[in-house]
C-alpha cells in the first residue's frame, strides 16, 4: 500500500495513453454490466422464494388445460400443503402492443405466492370483488392505473358470454414484489377464476384450469411428490408433468433461445480484445520506463517488489476503468428498462454482477500485467541503464 503513489504516478506517466486505455476498459465493462442484466432478465429461474413450489401442467403441451377436479386429488397427495391454479388470459390493454401478462387465478393463489406483497385491506377488497384485479406496481404505473379504476382488458383468446371481447375489471389492489422474487413478478395482472369461468363464452374452459401450482410442506420432498402427482393421471387423457417452479421457468426461458450462450460469446470476444489491448499498453508503458525501473532496483527495490508494482499497476488500471464502467452500467440499465416501456424487464445491477465483474477485473489486470512484470523483474540493472 505504501507504494500506491508510485504506482499511481507510473500509471499516469502518459496521461493520454492511460486515458484512452481507461475508456476502452470502461466500454468493455459497461457492456458486461448491460449484458449481464439482460441475461438475468431472462433467467428468472433463480428465485429462491419458489423452492417449495411445484408446477403441474399437461404433459402433452402447454396449451392443453387440466380438469378442475384434479385439484382436489392433488391436494390429497401426502407432502402437499396447498394447491392453487391459474389460467392464461392473454390480455391486451387498448392496443395490441400493450400486452398484459394476465391470469385468472384461484382464490388461494395469492397465499401461495408470498412474494406478492399486497396490503391487507386491498387483499380483503380483492376477495370481496367479483371483477376485482390486483396488478404489480410498475405495470400500474405504466398504464396510469390507480386503485378504484375500472379498466377494460381485451383477451386475444376468450370472448365474454355476450360476445364482447372486452372484459371490464376493477383495480382493487396494487402489489409490490418482495426482494428475491423472480424477475417480472411485479409485471403481472391477477383476477378471479370465478369471474373468468362465469363470464366466459367457451363453457368448457370454465371447468378446466391451465396449470396447478403446488405448495409443498417441505422442499426436499419435491421429487417424490411430483412423481405421486403425475401418477394420479397416468394413462388418462390428461396426463400431467410436474416439475419444480424453477425448472419450469428455466425450460421456458430456454425456449426463447440460449441467451446465456449469446451473452458469453459476445463477452468472450470483448474480453479477448481487451486483454490484447491493455496488454499492449502495459508492455509499452514498461518498455518506456526501463530506465526508471533500473534506477528503482539500483536504489534497493527488490526484484519481487518491482514485479508486484507492475502487476499492481495492471490491476489498478483495470479496476479504475472497470468500476467506472460498471457504475455507468448501473445508471444506464434502469434508463434502458424505462425507455423500453416495460418491454424489457432489466433488473438493476445485482451484487452478483459486481462480484463477477471485480473478479474479472482482477484476473484480466493480473494477466495483462504479468508479462511486463516478469520483464521488469528480470531486468539487469547494468544493461538497462546502458540502454542495451
Amino acid at each position: 500500500m505504501k507504494y500506491l503513489h508510485l504506482i499511481w504516478a507510473a500509471l499516469f506517466r502518459r496521461k493520454a495513453r492511460t486515458f484512452f486505455t481507461l475508456i476502452s476498459i470502461l466500454a468493455a465493462f459497461l457492456l458486461f454490466g448491460m449484458l449481464d442484466a439482460t441475461r438475468a432478465a431472462f433467467s428468472s429461474g433463480d428465485s429462491v422464494i419458489g423452492v417449495d413450489r411445484l408446477v403441474t401442467t399437461s404433459r402433452y403441451s402447454i396449451i392443453q388445460s387440466l380438469p378442475s377436479s384434479l385439484g382436489g386429488r392433488i391436494a390429497a397427495v401426502p407432502g402437499v400443503a396447498t394447491v392453487a391454479s391459474a389460467n392464461w388470459f392473454g390480455g391486451i390493454y387498448q392496443d395490441p402492443k400493450n400486452f398484459v401478462l394476465s391470469f385468472a387465478v384461484s382464490d388461494n393463489f395469492l397465499d401461495v405466492y408470498r412474494e406478492i406483497e399486497l396490503p391487507a385491506d386491498q387483499r380483503k377488497a380483492f376477495d370481496a370483488t367479483r371483477t376485482g384485479a390486483v396488478v404489480g406496481e410498475p405495470l400500474a404505473k405504466r398504464f396510469g392505473w390507480k386503485v378504484g379504476d375500472k379498466i377494460p382488458l381485451q383477451s386475444t383468446i376468450f370472448p365474454q358470454r355476450n360476445g364482447d371481447k372486452t372484459w371490464p375489471f376493477d383495480i382493487v389492489g396494487i402489489y409490490k414484489a418482495a426482494p428475491g422474487a423472480a424477475n417480472g413478478t411485479d409485471q403481472q395482472f391477477f383476477f378471479h377464476h370465478k369471474y373468468f369461468q362465469e363470464a366466459n363464452a367457451f363453457q368448457g374452459i370454465g371447468t378446466t384450469v391451465g396449470w396447478y401450482i403446488v405448495k409443498l410442506t417441505s422442499p426436499d420432498k419435491a421429487d417424490a411428490v411430483a412423481k405421486a402427482i403425475d401418477a394420479l393421471s397416468a394413462n388418462s387423457d390428461h396426463e400431467t408433468k410436474t416439475q419444480t417452479e424453477q425448472a419450469f421457468n428455466a425450460s421456458f426461458a430456454k425456449q426463447l433461445g440460449d441467451i446465456g450462450l449469446i451473452v458469453s460469446a459476445i463477452m468472450g470476444a470483448v474480453f479477448f480484445t481487451l486483454i490484447l489491448l491493455t496488454g499492449n499498453t502495459m508492455a509499452q508503458a514498461v518498455r518506456e520506463r526501463t530506465n526508471e525501473l533500473a534506477v528503482l532496483k539500483t536504489i534497493g527495490f527488490s526484484s519481487r517488489s518491482v514485479l508486484c508494482m507492475v502487476l499492481a499497476e495492471g490491476v489498478l488500471l483495470l479496476l479504475l476503468g472497470g468500476i467506472l464502467g460498471l457504475a455507468l452500467a448501473g445508471v444506464v440499465v434502469p434508463i434502458v428498462a424505462k425507455g423500453s416501456g416495460g418491454m424489457l424487464n432489466l433488473p438493476p445491477l445485482g451484487a452478483q454482477t459486481w462480484v463477477l465483474g471485480i473478479v474479472l477485473m482482477l484476473i484480466i489486470g493480473a494477466l495483462v500485467g504479468l508479462l511486463p512484470a516478469i520483464r521488469a523483474m528480470r531486468l539487469n540493472i547494468v544493461d538497462a541503464l546502458a540502454g542495451r
Binding site: 476502452s24 396449451i63 371481447k165 433461445g257 460469446a265 481487451l274 499492449n280
Partner: protein, 440 residues
C-alpha cells in the same frame, strides 16, 4: 489566442468526424468504390499523391516492427465487426424466414382480435362462408382452393437435450394445401393420408427435435402418430409438423371448428374484394390479411430487438476499439517522429503525411473488418437456431450472413479506422519539425 486557436481546430476536427460519419452511413457502395478509385488516381498522377504513396509505403513496411500494437487495431476491429455482423445475421435470418413464408396471393382469415392462429377459432359455418367468398380462386372442378387449419402445440424434446421440452407446432391442413403453398416439397417419404394418424415433418423441425424421422412414431395427445415424410419449404413452415385437419381435430377434441382459413386468391389484386366482402358480412367478425402481411408482422418485434441489441453492443465495442486504435497510432507516430520530421524538413507537405497515416490505419481496419466478417461468415452462415414465435411454439430459422451485412461490417471497420487515424495523423502533421528532430 493560442487557446482559442486550439479550441477552434478541435471543434473543426470533431465537425469533420461528425460530417464524415453522417455521409459515410448514407453512402451507397458505388460511391465508396468511386472514392477509392479517385484516391488511387490521385496517388498515381499528382505530385502530392505520389509523395503520399511513398510515405504510406514506408509506414506499411514498418508495420511488421510494430506487430503487437498493430494487431490491437486489427483484432479490436475484428471483434466489433464479428459481433455486429453475427447479431444482424440472426435478426435478418429470422425476418427472412418469416417474410418468405407468406406471399400476396394467399390470404389468411382469423377470428377478430386474435393476432395469432393459436388464439383464434372459427366454427364450421364461418369457415364455409370465408371459403365461398368472392376473390377465392377455384380449381378445375369449380371448388374454391382453401385450407381450414388448426394449430396445436406439442411438447417434444430437443435433440441432444433429452429432458428438455420444446413447444413444437402441429398444423392440421386440408388436401388443398399442396395447391395453396407451392413452396412446400416432399424431400423424403410420402404425403400423409387423410383420416390416418400420419404426420409429415418440416426439415427444420426434423433437424432440431428428437424422434422426427420417417418411420418413427411419436405420442401426441395420448395417441400414437407415425411420421411418414419430410418436407422442405425454405421458410417458417419447416418448423412445423403437418397432419390432416380432421385427424388433428379429433385427437385434440376440436370438433368441426378450425383456427384459421387460408385461401388462394384469383390474383393479388383480388385481396381487396375478398377483404371487403368478409368485412361486409354480418355473420362474421374476422381479421383478414395477406399471408405476407401476417407472417411479416410476426417477425417485427424480435427483429427490431435483435437489431437494436446488435447495434448498441456494436457501438459500445466500437468506442473501445476507436480508443485502442488511437493508442496504437499515437504510439506509431511517436516511434516514427524523427522520420516524419525529416520528411517535412526536406519539403514534404502536411497533406501527404496526414493521408498516409490515415491510409495505414484504415488498411489495418479493413484487414480487421475482413477477418471479423469472414469468421462470422464461416461459422454462422446457415447456422440453425430456434426461438419462440407468435404461436407460442418454436420457429426454426437460419442465420443469414448476406453480402449486404458483410458490407455493413466493412463500413463500420473503415469508419473506426478513420476516426482512430484522424487524430494521430493531424498530430503528426502539426509536429514542430525542429523539436521532433531533436527528440530521441
Amino acid at each position: 489566442m493560442t487557446f482559442l486557436k486550439k479550441l477552434g481546430s478541435g471543434l473543426l476536427t470533431l465537425l469533420i468526424v461528425a460530417v464524415f460519419l453522417a455521409v459515410w452511413i448514407a453512402l451507397p457502395w458505388p460511391a465508396i468504390v468511386a472514392a477509392a478509385v479517385l484516391l488511387a488516381l490521385w496517388m498515381t498522377f499528382t505530385r502530392r499523391g505520389r509523395q503520399t504513396w511513398e510515405v504510406t509505403k514506408v509506414g506499411l513496411a514498418t508495420v511488421t516492427q510494430r506487430l503487437g500494437s498493430s494487431s490491437v487495431v486489427v483484432v479490436g476491429i475484428a471483434g466489433v465487426v464479428g459481433v455486429l455482423v453475427a447479431m444482424l445475421a440472426m435478426s435478418e435470418g429470422f425476418a427472412e424466414t418469416l417474410r418468405s413464408t407468406g406471399n400476396d396471393q394467399t390470404a389468411i382469415v382469423l377470428r377478430g382480435g386474435s393476432q395469432a392462429e393459436l388464439n383464434s377459432i372459427l366454427d364450421r359455418d364461418s369457415a364455409n362462408v370465408v371459403i365461398q367468398a368472392p376473390g377465392v380462386k377455384k380449381d378445375a372442378q369449380g371448388k374454391p382452393i382453401a385450407s381450414g387449419e388448426l394449430v396445436v402445440v406439442a411438447n417434444l424434446p430437443k435433440k441432444d437435450v433429452p429432458d428438455s421440452d420444446s413447444n413444437v407446432p402441429i398444423r392440421g391442413v386440408s388436401e388443398d394445401v399442396w395447391n395453396l403453398r407451392g413452396q412446400v416439397k416432399m424431400v423424403e417419404g410420402r404425403k400423409f393420408k387423410p383420416g390416418l394418424r400420419e404426420l409429415i415433418v418440416g426439415k427444420g423441425a426434423s433437424a432440431q427435435f428428437e424422434g422426427l424421422e420417417v418411420g418413427k412414431s411419436i405420442r401426441l395427445a395420448g395417441q400414437t402418430w407415425t411420421v411418414v415424410g419430410i418436407f422442405d419449404s425454405g421458410d417458417a413452415l419447416e418448423s412445423e409438423l403437418w397432419g390432416d385437419t380432421q385427424s388433428v381435430a379429433s385427437a385434440y377434441r376440436r370438433g368441426s371448428s378450425v383456427q384459421s382459413v387460408t385461401v388462394l386468391l384469383d390474383s393479388p389484386k383480388a385481396f381487396d374484394t375478398f377483404k371487403a366482402s368478409l368485412a361486409a358480412d354480418p355473420r362474421l367478425k374476422v381479421d383478414v390479411s395477406t399471408t405476407r402481411e401476417y407472417f411479416g408482422k410476426q417477425s417485427e418485434g424480435l427483429t427490431k430487438v435483435l437489431r437494436a441489441v446488435g447495434i448498441t453492443v456494436g457501438i459500445i465495442m466500437a468506442i473501445g476499439a476507436v480508443f485502442g486504435a488511437l493508442n496504437t497510432m499515437f504510439a506509431a507516430i511517436q516511434a516514427r517522429a524523427r522520420e516524419i520530421a525529416t520528411l517535412r524538413a526536406i519539403g514534404f507537405r502536411g497533406l501527404p503525411v496526414v493521408v498516409s497515416i490515415m491510409l495505414e490505419t484504415m488498411l489495418l481496419a479493413l484487414l480487421g473488418g475482413l477477418i471479423g466478417a469472414g469468421i462470422v461468415w464461416v461459422i454462422f452462415n446457415g447456422y440453425t437456431a430456434s426461438t419462440l414465435g407468435a404461436n407460442f411454439s418454436q420457429v426454426v430459422f437460419r442465420f443469414h450472413v448476406s453480402a449486404g451485412l458483410l458490407w455493413t461490417g466493412i463500413k463500420w471497420a473503415l469508419a473506426i479506422g478513420f476516426i482512430g487515424g484522424l487524430f494521430p495523423a493531424l498530430r503528426a502533421a502539426r509536429l514542430p519539425v525542429t523539436t521532433a528532430l531533436r527528440e530521441l
